[in-house]
C-alpha cells in the first residue's frame, strides 16, 4: 500500500469515525435505532417545542418589523395554549368519551405548558430585562398568576414522578380516603394490645406509656410541619420510648411491646403516605384553581387589549 493510499485510507477512517461518533451521540440522545423509549419521546417533544418557539419568535420578530403589534399575535397564541392546557381537566372529568388516553393528554399538557412559557417571554419582553411582574394591577396579577401556574406545573412535573416512587418504597399503598380508617384501626389495635396485658407490672409500665404518649400519638393527625416535610423524628422518639420499657418487662410483655412498635411503624407509614398523597392532591387543586383564574384574567386582558389596541 502506497503512502497515498494509506493516507487516503486514514482520512476515510477518520471521517467514518467522526460520522459514527456523531450518529452514536444522536442515537444516545434521541434513542433512535432502539425500541420506543421515554427518552426518545422526550427528545422529540422538546425538539418540537424548541422549533415551535423559534418559529413563533421569528414570526413575532417579523410582525414587529412590519410595524404590527406582535403582542396581539403572541397573546392569541398564549390564550390558545391556556385553553388547551385547561382542557386536560375537562378530559379528566369526562373519561367515557374517546378523547385519547390520559397519558397522551398529559404529555400534550406538559409540552404545551413549556411552549406557553416561551411564548409568554415573547409576549412580555420586559421579562428579559428583569421585570418578572408587570406594574399594572391587572397585568401584574396576570403575570403573577402565570408564573405561579407555570411554577406549580414544573413542580407538579417533578412531583408526579418523584412522589409515586417514594410511595412505592414505603410499601403497601393505601388510598388517601382510607387512611383515617386505617389510623382508627391501628389505634384500636394498640388499645387492644394494652388491654390484653395481664402482668401488673406490664400493665403499669405499658399502660402508663400508652396513656401518656401512645394514645396521643395515635389519635392525633400529623402536624402541618410533618405534612409539608415528613420526617421520622416522632416515630423514632416513640419507638425509643418503647425500647426503654423493655428492661422493666417480662419476655411476654416485651413481645406485646414489639407488636405495639410494629403498629407505630405502620402508623408512621400511613402518615408518610398521607403527607405525600395530600401534597399531590393539594398541588393539583392549586394548579387547577390558579389555571382557571389565569384563564379568566387572560380573557379579560385579551378583551381589554383588543379594545384599546389602535392598529
Amino acid at each position: 500500500m502506497s503512502v497515498v493510499e494509506r493516507r487516503h485510507g486514514g482520512a476515510i477512517s477518520t471521517t467514518q469515525r467522526c460520522k459514527a461518533a456523531a450518529s452514536g451521540l444522536v442515537n444516545r440522545v434521541t434513542g433512535a435505532g432502539r425500541a420506543y423509549s421515554f427518552r426518545r419521546r422526550r427528545v422529540v417533544a422538546c425538539g418540537v417545542v424548541v422549533v415551535s418557539l423559534a418559529l413563533a419568535a421569528l414570526l413575532a420578530s417579523g410582525m414587529h418589523a412590519a410595524l404590527l403589534h406582535s403582542g396581539v399575535m403572541t397573546g392569541w397564541m398564549l390564550i390558545s395554549c391556556l385553553f388547551l392546557l385547561v382542557l386536560i381537566g375537562v378530559r379528566r372529568r369526562i373519561p367515557v368519551l374517546p378523547l385519547g388516553t390520559m397519558s397522551v393528554w398529559t404529555q400534550v399538557h406538559i409540552y404545551t405548558g413549556l411552549f406557553a412559557v416561551g411564548v409568554f417571554l415573547l409576549h412580555v419582553p420586559a421579562i428579559l430585562h428583569g421585570r418578572l411582574i408587570a406594574t399594572g394591577y391587572l397585568e401584574g396579577t396576570l403575570s403573577g398568576l402565570f408564573w405561579f401556574v407555570s411554577a406549580s406545573g414544573v413542580y407538579g412535573l417533578i412531583a408526579s414522578r418523584r412522589i409515586p416512587w417514594r410511595l412505592t418504597n414505603v410499601g403497601e399503598q393505601v388510598r388517601l380516603d382510607q387512611i383515617p380508617w386505617y389510623r382508627e384501626q391501628i389505634s384500636r389495635s394498640v388499645s387492644d394490645e394494652v388491654q390484653s396485658l395481664t402482668n401488673p407490672a406490664a400493665i403499669s409500665v405499658i399502660g402508663e406509656f400508652h396513656r401518656r404518649y401512645l394514645s396521643r400519638y395515635l389519635s392525633s393527625k400529623p402536624s402541618w410541619l410533618y405534612l409539608i416535610y415528613p420526617t421520622s423524628v416522632r416515630r423514632r422518639r416513640v419507638l425509643a420510648g418503647l425500647v426503654e420499657l423493655n428492661r422493666y418487662l417480662e419476655e411476654e410483655d416485651c413481645r406485646v411491646c414489639g407488636r405495639i412498635a410494629a403498629l407505630v411503624r405502620r402508623r408512621d407509614d400511613l402518615d408518610y403516605q398521607y403527607a405525600l398523597q395530600l401534597r399531590l392532591r393539594v398541588w393539583v387543586m392549586l394548579h387547577s384553581a390558579a389555571s382557571v383564574a389565569l384563564l379568566v384574567m387572560a380573557i379579560i386582558h385579551g378583551i381589554l387589549a383588543m379594545r384599546f389596541v389602535e392598529s
Binding site: 391587572l138 410499601g171 388517601l176 380508617w181 419476655e251 410494629a262 379594545r307
Partner: protein
C-alpha cells in the same frame, strides 16, 4: 427474647367495601370514634351513605322509630346495618377540594365584579405606569379625565360604563392618534400626522426617485461609493403591514411601559421595513455619503477656499509683521459655539448654531465694508420719468418737457416692480430698455402711453399718500411688515411732493432749466409760474423766494448750513455736514453751488432719499450693510416676476447685496430643508472629543484643481456623466427644496435663490469648497458597541414642517 414483628406482619382488618370517595361525605360508622353504632369493630358504613349536604340518613329516624311502624326497620335492614343509630359523616377529600375550589373561585369572581363595577376599574386595568412626561400631565391636577384623555372608549367615572361602540360621548370619531396630535400639533402637522415621516405620499415618492437617481449617479464611481442594500438578514424583513399614509402614533410609541421607558426607542428593522434600500449595520452596509454635507444650502455665499488660500494670506502679507489674529483664517472667528445650543433641546439639536455665523459687522466688515459702500452708492430710483417721444408724451397729461425727447436709457426696475404690483395685468417689461424699443410699433406706443400715465399716477399718489402708500405697496408686494415699515418710514414724502409739483404741476421748464430747477428763490421761473394759480395747492408757487428760509438770503443765518460762518468762525465745527470744508468753500458762491446737480455722494454720504433732477427721479442711496430700504427692495423683488426680478438684480446696489446673499433669508435660517430635517447632527457632543475640535478633521478644505480631479468622491459628484455633474447638483438641489407639503413646492421656498437660480450655483455657494464627508469618518465611532449606530441616532422620523402652521389655534381642543 424473640424479635418484634415487622410492620407488614401486623394484621389490620380490611377497609369497608362500601366507600364512595368521590362523594362529599363518607359514612362515619366505625371511624373517628364513631362507636355509637354498636361500638364494635364490626361497625361498617351503611350502604346509603350520607347525603350531599353531609347528613346521615338515620339522623331523623331515631325519633320516627318511636312512633312509626316497622317499615323503616326493614329499610334499615336492607342497608346492612345492625342498628339505626346515626353516625357523624366524614367529609371526603373530594368534597373538601370542591368546596375550597368553589370558594376560592367565587371569591375571585366577586373580587372581579367588585373591581370592574366600581371606580377602581381604570386604575385596575391600567396596564402599566405612564412615561414620566405623560404621567406628570395626565395624572396631575392639570387634567381630570384620566384615561379619557387618550382613550375614547373608557369612561372616567366607571369603566363598565363604556358603550357598545367602544366610545363615549361625541368624541367617538377621534382616534388615539387624533388625541396625540391634539397636544403635539406644534411638532406634528395635523393633516399629515398619520403619514409616514409626516410628509405626503407625493413628497415621499419624489424623495425616493431623487434618492435613486443620486445613488445611481454615485454608483458610477464604483471604487469609492457603494450602494449596498439588502445585506444580511435585512433583506428578509417583511414589508410594512400598515399603510404608509395611516401610521398611528402607537405603532412606534408604546405607552404604559413604565416611567423610565423610552417612547422614542424604535428598532432599526422597523425603520427599514418601509425603505427599499435595507442594510445591516451602519459601518458595514449603510450607503456611502454622496454629498454630505456638501449639499447644504447656505444663505450667504462664502468661498471658504478662496478666503483661506488667497484673501487671508494676502491680507496677512500686506499687514506684514504687524498682522493681527483677524488676518489669520480661523473657523472659530466666524463660527461660534452658541451657549444656548448646548442644551439638548429639540430646537438646539435641530438648529446646530455652532455653525451659525457671526454678523457682518463682526466678521466681514473689516474687509468688505468700504467696497460695499462704493457698490451701493449708486442708488436705485424709486421713480424715474422715462424719456418718451413727443408723439407719446403728448397723449399724457402734463408730461414734463424735460422727459420728452429721443427715448434712451432704461426704466427703473424698482419703479417697474411697484407698477407691476399695482396693476399686474400690464407688463411694462418690453419697455425696460427704451433705446431698444421699436417706436414705430403702435402697440409699443400705446404701452408707452400707459407707462407714462401709470408713472404720473404713481408719482401723484406717492406725493399725496406718501409713506402709507409705500407701506401698502411694499406689503402687497410681499415684504414683511417690519421691513415695509422701515422702508416706508424712511421715505421723505415732501421731496416727492416737490418733485411731483415740479414735474407735473406747472408748465414745463425748458431743458436749460433742468439743472436749475431748484436753483434759487430768485429764479424768474418761480415768479413767472403761470400755473401757480391753477389750484395746485401742493406748492405755493406764488410764494416769494424770500419766504424760503433755506434758499433765501437769510440762509446765512442757518447754523446747519453755515458752519463756517458761525460766531466762532470754526469751519470744522459743524459736525452735521460731513463735507463741511466743501460747504465752506461753496459759501463763496452758494448760488452757483445750488444750481449744480445735487451730488448725493458728497451731500448725502450717509445715505437716504434724494431727488435727481438730471434723471428726473427720486433715488435712494444706501447707508451700508443691512440697509432696510435695500433689503425691502430685494425681498419684494425676490417674490416678483422673474423678468422684473432680473432687472432689479442688475441694479448695482442690489447686485452688491445678492452677490453674498444669494438666497433668502438673509441670515442662516432655522428653517431647514426636508433633507436636513431627516438627518440630524449636533456638533456639540462631537466637540467633546479632542481630535474633533479641529474643524478640518471632518471638513477638509477642497484642494487645488489638480487634486479635485483626483478626489474620487468629488469626481463622483462633479464629473460629467449621465447623471452626475450638473444633473447631480440639480437633483441635490431638488432634494433640498422638497417640501413636506405637496402644495408647498409651488410656493415660494424659504430658501429662494436670486439671479442665477440654478441649483448647481446655489450648491457651489454652499459647502462645495469642502470635500464631502465620508462615511468612514463617522463609522469609526458610530458602531453598535461605541457611539451607537441606530437609525435614529442620525435620522429623525417626524420631519413634517409645522412652521407654516399656526400653532395658536388647535385643530381641536384636547379631550379632557
Amino acid at each position: 427474647m424473640s424479635r418484634s414483628p415487622r410492620r407488614d406482619e401486623v394484621d389490620l382488618p380490611d377497609p369497608p367495601r362500601i366507600q364512595r370517595p368521590g362523594r362529599p361525605f363518607l359514612c362515619g360508622r366505625g371511624q373517628h370514634g364513631n362507636h355509637s353504632a354498636g361500638d364494635t369493630q364490626t361497625a361498617t358504613p351503611c350502604a346509603e351513605g350520607p347525603t350531599i349536604a353531609g347528613e346521615c340518613p338515620f339522623a331523623g329516624r331515631c325519633h320516627d322509630d318511636s312512633g312509626s311502624g316497622s317499615g323503616k326497620k326493614k329499610t334499615a335492614g336492607k342497608k346492612g346495618a345492625n342498628d339505626f343509630s346515626p353516625c357523624r359523616p366524614i367529609p371526603t377529600w373530594a368534597g373538601r377540594r370542591r368546596r375550597w375550589t368553589a370558594g376560592v373561585l367565587l371569591l375571585f369572581a366577586f373580587a372581579l365584579v367588585g373591581v370592574f363595577g366600581t371606580s377602581l376599574a381604570p386604575e385596575f386595568v391600567r396596564p402599566g405606569n405612564l412615561s414620566t412626561s405623560h404621567a406628570q400631565i395626565l395624572t396631575g391636577d392639570l387634567t381630570a379625565g384620566g384615561c379619557t384623555v387618550c382613550h375614547g372608549n373608557v369612561s372616567a367615572e366607571t369603566w363598565m360604563a363604556m358603550k357598545e361602540a367602544g366610545h363615549v360621548g361625541t368624541e367617538e370619531s377621534l382616534t388615539m392618534t387624533d388625541r396625540c396630535v391634539a397636544c403635539h400639533h406644534d411638532r406634528i402637522p395635523v393633516d399629515l400626522a398619520t403619514s409616514a415621516h409626516n410628509v405626503s405620499a407625493e413628497t415621499r415618492l419624489a424623495i425616493g426617485e431623487q434618492r435613486r437617481e443620486i445613488m445611481l449617479a454615485a454608483a458610477t464611481d464604483s471604487s469609492s461609493v457603494r450602494t449596498v442594500s439588502g445585506s444580511g438578514v435585512s433583506k428578509w424583513w417583511p414589508p410594512p403591514a400598515v399603510s404608509q399614509d395611516d401610521v398611528a402614533c402607537s405603532v412606534c410609541h408604546r405607552e404604559h411601559h413604565g416611567a423610565d421607558a423610552d417612547l422614542k426607542a424604535i428598532a432599526d428593522s422597523r425603520c427599514q421595513t418601509c425603505h427599499s434600500n435595507r442594510f445591516g449595520s451602519f459601518a458595514d452596509s449603510h450607503p456611502e455619503f454622496t454629498n454630505w454635507p456638501t449639499s447644504s444650502e447656505h444663505a450667504i455665499a462664502f468661498d471658504h477656499s478662496r478666503h483661506a488660500n488667497m484673501h487671508f494670506p494676502k491680507t496677512a502679507e500686506a499687514e506684514g509683521p504687524n498682522q493681527t489674529l483677524a488676518s489669520q483664517f480661523d473657523c472659530r472667528s466666524c463660527h461660534m459655539i452658541d451657549p444656548a445650543s448646548q442644551s439638548d433641546t429639540r430646537d438646539a439639536l435641530l438648529n446646530d448654531s455652532i455653525v451659525g455665523t457671526l454678523p457682518f459687522e463682526a466678521t466681514c466688515a473689516a474687509c468688505h465694508e468700504e467696497s460695499l459702500g462704493v457698490q451701493i452708492a449708486s442708488g436705485p430710483a424709486l421713480i424715474e420719468l422715462p424719456i418718451l417721444p413727443r408723439e407719446v408724451a403728448e397723449q399724457i397729461e402734463s408730461w414734463p418737457e424735460d422727459a420728452i425727447g429721443p427715448p434712451d436709457g432704461k426704466l427703473s426696475a424698482w419703479m417697474l416692480l411697484l407698477l407691476h404690483d399695482q396693476d399686474p395685468s400690464v407688463d411694462f417689461a418690453p419697455l425696460s430698455n427704451l433705446a431698444l424699443v421699436d417706436w414705430q410699433s403702435r402697440s409699443n406706443q400705446e404701452l408707452a402711453v400707459r407707462l407714462g400715465k401709470a408713472v404720473r399716477e404713481f408719482a401723484i399718489a406717492l406725493s399725496i399718500d406718501g409713506q402709507a402708500f409705500l407701506l401698502d405697496a411694499a406689503q402687497r408686494a410681499g415684504a414683511d411688515l417690519e421691513t415695509s415699515k422701515a422702508f416706508a418710514g424712511s421715505f421723505p414724502t415732501q421731496v416727492m411732493r416737490d418733485a411731483a409739483s415740479e414735474w407735473f404741476g406747472r408748465s414745463n421748464v425748458s431743458a436749460s432749466d433742468r439743472f436749475s430747477a431748484r436753483q434759487s428763490a430768485a429764479s424768474d421761473s418761480l415768479a413767472a409760474t403761470p400755473d401757480s394759480g391753477d389750484g395746485d395747492l401742493l406748492v405755493d408757487w406764488s410764494a416769494e423766494g424770500g419766504d424760503d428760509l433755506l434758499l433765501s438770503g437769510g440762509a446765512n443765518d442757518d447754523p446747519l448750513l453755515l458752519g463756517g460762518s458761525s460766531s466762532n468762525g470754526d469751519t470744522q465745527s459743524n459736525l452735521l455736514l460731513p463735507g463741511g470744508g466743501a460747504t465752506d468753500r461753496g459759501l463763496a458762491n452758494w448760488e452757483d453751488e445750488l444750481g449744480k446737480r445735487f451730488d448725493a455722494a458728497r451731500a448725502q454720504s450717509l445715505g437716504g432719499w434724494y431727488r435727481d433732477d438730471l434723471t428726473l427721479s427720486i433715488r435712494y442711496r444706501g447707508s451700508g450693510h443691512s440697509d432696510a430700504v435695500l433689503r425691502s427692495l430685494v425681498e419684494v423683488a425676490s417674490k416678483s416676476d422673474p423678468v422684473i426680478r432680473e432687472l432689479v438684480m442688475q441694479q448695482p446696489a442690489v447686485a452688491a447685496c445678492v452677490s453674498c446673499h444669494t438666497s433668502l433669508p438673509w441670515r442662516e435660517s432655522h428653517e431647514s430643508s426636508l433633507r436636513n430635517r431627516l438627518t440630524k447632527f449636533s456638533h456639540r457632543p462631537h466637540l467633546d472629543i479632542t481630535a474633533l475640535q479641529n474643524c478640518e478633521h471632518c471638513h477638509s478644505m477642497r484642494p487645488g484643481s489638480e487634486s479635485e480631479a483626483s478626489s474620487p468622491s468629488f469626481a463622483a459628484a462633479t464629473q460629467p456623466s449621465p447623471l452626475t455633474g450638473d444633473a447631480l447638483y440639480d437633483t441635490i438641489g431638488l432634494l433640498n427644496h422638497v417640501s413636506a407639503r405637496p402644495d408647498a413646492s409651488s410656493d415660494v421656498s424659504p430658501h429662494l435663490a436670486f439671479g442665477d437660480t440654478d441649483a448647481d450655483e446655489t450648491t457651489r455657494h454652499g459647502h462645495s469648497d469642502f470635500l464631502p464627508l465620508r462615511k468612514a469618518a463617522c463609522a469609526h465611532c458610530h458602531t453598535a458597541s461605541a457611539a451607537g449606530d441606530h437609525c435614529t441616532t442620525c435620522h429623525r422620523y417626524h420631519v413634517g414642517d409645522v412652521s407654516q402652521q399656526s400653532t395658536a389655534v388647535s385643530p381641536f381642543e384636547p379631550v379632557r
